[in-house]
Assembly symmetry: C2
Homo-oligomer: 543 residues x 2
């Protein structure tokens, strides 16, 4: 099942700059520059090094992760250049360094760095490299912090979005509403992008919609409702029929009449009294502005005694004029109960007034939703069609960071290992090959890493495999302007991500006690790691 | 104790743009634009509205918050302008809206919006407005999402930094190391800025250091250590003495001799055997590059049996040449134990070789530190001089979002209230005055909000007060290029923040069971809120 490399060569000249203009070579830890100087002083800066970028543990107590952020890494490296202004600043920070070093820094364009990466949007697992970066050690070190900064949050929020999709189910609309609570403006923009990648349907964030072509959604807030005092504020009351007939009616009167008819209808009589006139005016005004896409926030005063009746009056008036309202949004209270009651109300309207389809009116829920609350709603039973999710999605509240690391695995063809008193932190040395092995049901069963020269692993019950070597794209940044292949669009990556999630065995993906997916190294690589470990550990260790 | 307004008028022309170029009027929720259209259609868009920006609950189970993000809000509003390109995009998102509306959007420059804000860096409490924004309702709504996005994370991470300072104590150096784990590149830059504001001493983030004048720190990583195979790699072995005498020595031999002398010294004999030659070569190289600022990461192999002895050999060789090493960094293991053992080792060196001050060598600790781990280190006893804090600081792992909101409190001089089934979510209506009242010990005792026309509140035991009216700066954005006062520098805000924290009564600030700080409304305002509530609630509520 070896797949073709998804991206192919990408050459520097044609690759756009990072989406966020603040992503420059100075967006890094100072120690990358001090190390570069020490390498340079020792004449080691051009030593050929191999680094792996990987994470050690899946987030959110889950057993999978989705790889995000690759395109931004490619944009970064393809345009890598430290400007004269930046060099001037670095000289003030490292005043004792020699001029020749700053000349060297000026000359770095990463044309001698090779990046191998699996495609963005793939389901990935701990310890298996997402990216392998080969090149002169000083230059590659300068990529460490920006790459981690671009991959860590991207992968985390994509995974979080996918988890929300899994619990909500495929039939629900998922809307990302998190900009105001995100960790900085770029956190908000990245959150919108990667939530979409992980399976969300739309965002409220206009800038992100514009940058990445994500569908944008939004209607009105509580403030809009409370800014109105009553229907007297509406001066232009006319609405023209949708049928092109130029029929124009006093929409306010239509709405008022409908409210009385609902109050007196056989199924709903006595369920509510006087509704908020402020709210009714706001809904009417909003419908006059957007008769084709009327969706009302119904919880400013009281959902069942004001918001829903007011909404229905306006929706029925729109219906008279040939427009179809979209639905309501609930932003507080018991969402399961309120959605069920609202649905009953809609069905009563459909029945009492014979408006076909009114019962299916859309119900959107928001208000601090997350995996747990959606799961709880599912268990209680609810009538929500769309979830608007903000804070918990974009800040990855349940686990606010993914711990991707960037480790040296080889230098000058010598394998390197990073030991640690914490065994889970020991790195896997060597330039490696990685495989994903599939069983006869079609599910992936295990990811295996081997040394570079080993043959393809063979195991019982494995019928096919995916080789990272065939999968990993080589992004050789050679500064030529033409002949690059396009980076895949966000929409393509999203589709790939959804397909990959579908292909996983369900027990790895479930929320409660998911089965760990197996990641392994070949017997030969295992022995070699053990040998290196013994070799590197100080006398007295491991004996 | 009424203080002078800190900022004074700030006029548009001279105010720089937002630090992050991605912060534009489109960085907002779509519903701000759809509401603007509905207001415009209803002829209400110029209705004069008053909004309060505040939060409802202190973060991190604490009883205080620090206000951050104001400068970016001022930069945003002072340069508010929707470009023709942006208008073109909005037309595609809202295709049914009339041309006149887009002409209106183009004309908005917020020159008729007034922003009142307490100074950035103040200690603040729930429900009390941090900012009051007055202006045409449609224009002010367009500010909601960007303002929240700029204030929420800024205030959260400033507060988090201040909490880390409180637990670490004033004598420790606090270094922000979080860029690689931050939520997006801008999350990393904002984290560095606001951590410094909240009391940190330096950052590893070069871009943030450059943008905001924050001290930058960094030395080397584990990869640097494992990139060396042995001392044979060092080709240029000479180091010139620091005394200007041009004395030049074979530094590698000096280091090797010192390592043997340490191994044989009376106090340390037998405590370690053969050290890692890879590590020794890396330390030696780093010292050759930075003889004036040698700080070594000592846990790549084994702290006590390799890292610390190797460091001491290099530090003593530097000492021979007139240079003073800085110290070591620990990045794994039992930091309390290792720092104590390392300190003993340093004292033994001082005693055995008579190198005055060697025992006081700096010990920096890093590795997933947070409030809890620093508190635990304090209880165990440790010898750490500086903490490098990353993930938990910058992602605000313990609570990844602050819930600032932006609520309409008055329109056309009519007070507005937002009700909710959740009582804590009911907004406090009216254009208000706010006071902080101080007792005779000098501590603030309570924050009080009154109606605009009420007299200054009087209470027993209150000897002085701070009036928000005197404190809140009016940022009138009137588009004139000159006569603006400078925004305070980050360093000034940081100093103010530290002073304000010092002024608080300690029981409000402690980690465990802090005493809630009192926030109240005047009796008159309380009665008025109750009256409004009864008035607005649907029949049957609150009776």
């Amino acid at each position: 099942m070896a797949e073709a490399a998804a991206n192919g060569d990408v050459r520097g000249g044609g690759v756009p700059r990072p989406t966020n203009p603040m992503v420059t070579p100075l967006l890094t830890d100072l120690y990358q520059f001090t190390m570069a100087y020490a390498y340079w002083k020792a004449g080691k800066h051009l030593d050929r090094a191999v680094f792996d970028l990987y994470f050690r543990k899946n987030p959110f107590a889950g057993e999978f992760t989705i790889f995000g952020g690759l395109e931004e890494c490619i944009r970064f490296i393809a345009n890598f250049k430290i400007t004269e202004e930046e060099i001037k600043f670095l000289r003030t920070v490292m005043p004792t360094c020699e001029d020749g070093f700053f000349e060297y820094l000026s000359s770095i364009d990463c044309s001698d760095v090779e990046v191998y990466a699996i495609p963005e949007g793939y389901v990935v697992f701990p310890k298996v490299p997402l990216m392998r970066i080969e090149g002169p050690v000083a230059a590659v070190q300068l990529l460490e912090t920006p790459f981690l900064s671009l991959v860590n949050y991207a992968s985390l929020v994509t995974t979080n979005a996918a988890r929300h999709r899994l619990v909500a189910g495929k039939s629900k609309n998922l809307l990302e509403f998190g900009l105001r609570r995100a960790q900085g403006p770029d956190g908000g923009i990245s959150a919108s992008r990667y939530s979409y990648m992980g399976g969300f349907d739309a965002t409220s964030n206009v800038a992100a919609g514009r940058l990445f072509g994500i569908p944008i959604r939004g209607t009105h807030s509580h403030a809009f409702v409370s800014s109105f005092m009553g229907l007297h504020e509406i001066t232009d009351k006319g609405l023209t029929s949708s049928d092109g007939s130029n029929k124009r009616e006093d929409f306010v009167s239509l709405v008022q009449n409908w409210l009385i008819r609902i109050q007196d209808s056989s199924s709903l009589r006595g369920t509510f009294g006087e509704t908020s006139q402020s709210e009714l005016a706001a809904f009417t005004s909003y419908a006059l502005a957007f008769p084709n896409s009327f969706l009302a926030l119904v919880d400013t005063y009281d959902v069942m005694r004001s918001g829903v009746p007011n909404f229905c009056a306006v929706a029925l008036a729109l219906n008279d004029m040939g427009y179809k309202a979209v639905g309501i949004r609930l932003d507080s209270g018991d969402l399961a109960y309120l959605s069920v009651e609202t649905r009953k109300f809609f069905h009563a309207i459909e029945k009492d007034f014979g408006v076909v389809g009114f019962g299916k009116m859309n119900i959107t829920a928001s208000n601090d939703l997350n995996e747990e609350t959606i799961d709880a709603l599912n268990k209680q039973g609810h009538e929500v069609d769309a979830f608007g999710i903000g804070t918990y999605l974009v800040t990855c509240y349940a686990q606010a960071a993914l711990g991707c690391v960037f480790k040296l695995v080889e230098i000058n063809k010598q394998p390197r290992i990073k030991l640690s008193e914490d065994v889970t932190k020991v790195s896997i040395p060597c330039k490696k090959k990685c495989y994903r092995l599939y069983g006869k049901e079609g599910y992936p069963l295990v990811d295996i890493m081997t040394g570079e020269d080993e043959p393809t692993p063979k195991m019982d019950q494995i019928v096919t495999y995916l080789s990272w070597a065939s999968l990993m794209s080589k992004f050789a940044v050679i500064g030529e302007a033409d002949s690059r292949e396009e980076l895949p669009s966000l929409h393509e990556i999203r589709t790939r991500c959804i397909q990959h999630l579908d292909r996983m065995r369900p027990d790895h993906m479930r929320r409660l006690n998911p089965t760990p997916y197996k990641v392994s190294v070949s017997a030969k690589l295992y022995d070699f790691i053990h040998f290196l470990w013994l070799n590197e550990a100080p006398v007295g260790e491991l004996q």
